[in-house]
């Protein structure tokens, strides 16, 4: 799914924000670097943005900026994928059960560290195994998906659909509405943002 691009000029016109605000929010990393897409034009380069994402983000910032300081808002949006935990640290702090760490070892034998999405995936795995909603294989597929595809800081949901016994995992952004085949059943729906906040609180 490729989102449409919007030029910087159009964006400012549409949202009513100023250049000063846009550059300030960029400095605070409230609008991620990757959304500033350079394309060559007669001035050398022009900047474009993924339309849906940037409009939503600016709307959110505008809603929040009267209640919170810029730094607080920035913290909410900052991506924390780069936080890396050593497996030994996780064992010491008992953040995960031993079975989960063993599973991770068997899936990724060469890795001695965990990223936040990886930790998140194992924590979800534990919860799901305990509730007995999903099979072991489905759980393993989920770990691979969440570890590779989740971006901490984006509000995302994890969903498992099952039809005739075949399960498929989805990750979708909170704003997206998905329409489901009436014969399929939604087995799991997890707010990933909430889980991340919970983990971070520990």
């Amino acid at each position: 799914m490729v989102s449409r691009l919007i030029s910087k000029k159009e964006l400012l016109k549409l949202t009513g924000i100023s250049y000063g605000q846009l550059y300030r929010w960029k400095r605070k990393k409230m609008i991620p670097e990757e959304w500033f897409i350079k394309k060559s034009s007669y001035t050398g380069q022009e900047t474009y943005f993924p339309e849906d994402k940037v409009l939503l983000r600016i709307q959110k910032i505008k809603e929040l900026k009267d209640q919170l300081s810029l730094d607080d808002i920035a913290k909410m949006f900052t991506k924390r994928n780069d936080v890396i935990l050593k497996i030994t640290e996780i064992e010491e702090q008992e953040l995960l059960r031993r079975e989960s760490i063993e599973l991770y070892h068997s899936l990724y034998p060469n890795e001695e560290t965990l990223t936040i999405p990886a930790l998140l995936s194992l924590r979800i795995f534990e919860d799901l195994m305990q509730s007995g909603q999903v099979t072991w294989d489905e759980g393993k597929q989920m770990v691979a998906l969440v570890k590779e595809s989740v971006t901490v800081g984006d509000h995302q949901y994890l969903i498992l659909l099952r039809k005739f016994g075949v399960g498929i995992w989805f990750i979708t952004s909170a704003e997206e509405k998905i329409l489901i085949d009436p014969e399929a059943r939604k087995i799991v729906e997890i707010d990933l943002q909430e889980m991340v906040d919970k983990i971070r609180a520990e």
Binding site: K13, Y19, L22, Y23, R24, K26, R27, Q45
Partner: protein, 275 residues
């Protein structure tokens, strides 16, 4: 640990580990990492590991093959660090070269510094020469010499008198630039942007009198809210309230509230933007 390791003259390798004070007077080499309270090199010193100490003083020539983490680094001589430099207070009056990404709280630079990767410095006071091959991030930047950034430069307060070369975006809340000689920035964005002729005493009396020469700042795009320009050559200037002053050559101006074009300014196209 109250251990003192003094290395004089041509001593060979020494494994120090945790010592509270390490001095190299003359020339010496330390193999491995050094951890201590104070590390001093007077003369020539080489450390093949990393350095972790409260203070690190160099007044000769030093080479660290690992990284350096210290509260206070003072470099009067010539120093190379192959790894990164993490420090609270770093003062350079000599020459320093750092290989990997670095993070410094207060950097004061009277000499010459070259960072091969990114540099994050909360405050930078630089009447010297600074070259950063990656991105520069910080809070307050004051350059009175030469500043070269290969990628983007993002700070809250940017002040420069001297020579500038930024190959990416200069993004700051307030930007004040006085170009002494020809300077170049690819893109400028921020709230208040002011580029003007040097008006300080030194420039007026010395450089201008004897050389009759001042610089032009060349930029592709300038975007801000309050923009005042002199001696600037730009393709596009966009903003709310814009003043174009003497010796400017602007291809196109897009403004929202007001545009003032002063004497000796040249603007090819101007356009008022409506909401």
């Amino acid at each position: 640990m109250e251990e003192k390791g003094f290395i004089h003259d041509d001593s060979t390798n020494l494994n120090v580990g945790d010592a509270s004070q390490v001095h190299i007077n003359g020339s010496g080499q330390i193999t491995g990492d050094v951890r201590g309270k104070s590390i001093q090199i007077n003369g020539t010193g080489k450390i093949t590991g990393s350095v972790e100490s409260e203070t690190f003083h160099i007044s000769g020539t030093s080479k660290v093959l690992g990284s350096v983490r210290t509260n206070s680094l003072v470099c009067h001589g010539y120093s190379t660090i192959n790894g990164g430099l993490v420090g609270e207070e770093v003062k350079v009056t000599g020459v320093i070269q750092v290989g990997k990404s670095s993070k410094i709280k207060q950097l004061s630079l009277h000499g010459h510094a070259k960072f091969e990767e990114d540099l994050e410095a909360h405050t930078l006071y630089a009447p010297g020469i600074l070259s950063v091959q990656g991105n520069f991030r910080g809070h307050q930047l004051q350059s009175f010499g030469s500043l070269q950034v290969q990628k983007d430069c993002e700070v809250e307060e940017f002040k420069s008198r001297g020579v500038l070369k930024i190959n990416g975006l200069l993004n700051a809340e307030t930007i004040e630039i006085m170009p002494y000689t020809n300077s170049k920035i690819q893109e400028i964005g921020g709230q208040n942007i002011k580029i003007q002729y040097p008006n300080d005493y030194l420039f007026q009396t010395m450089i201008k009198k004897f050389f009759d020469w001042s610089g032009i700042l060349e930029v592709d795009v300038i975007e801000g809210e309050e923009i005042y320009l002199e001696c600037t050559k730009a393709k596009i200037v966009r903003g709310n309230r814009i003043t174009i002053g003497r010796n400017c050559q602007i291809e196109s101006v897009e403004y929202k509230d007001s545009l003032e074009i002063l004497e000796n300014a040249h603007v090819d196209n101007q356009q008022k933007m409506n909401d």
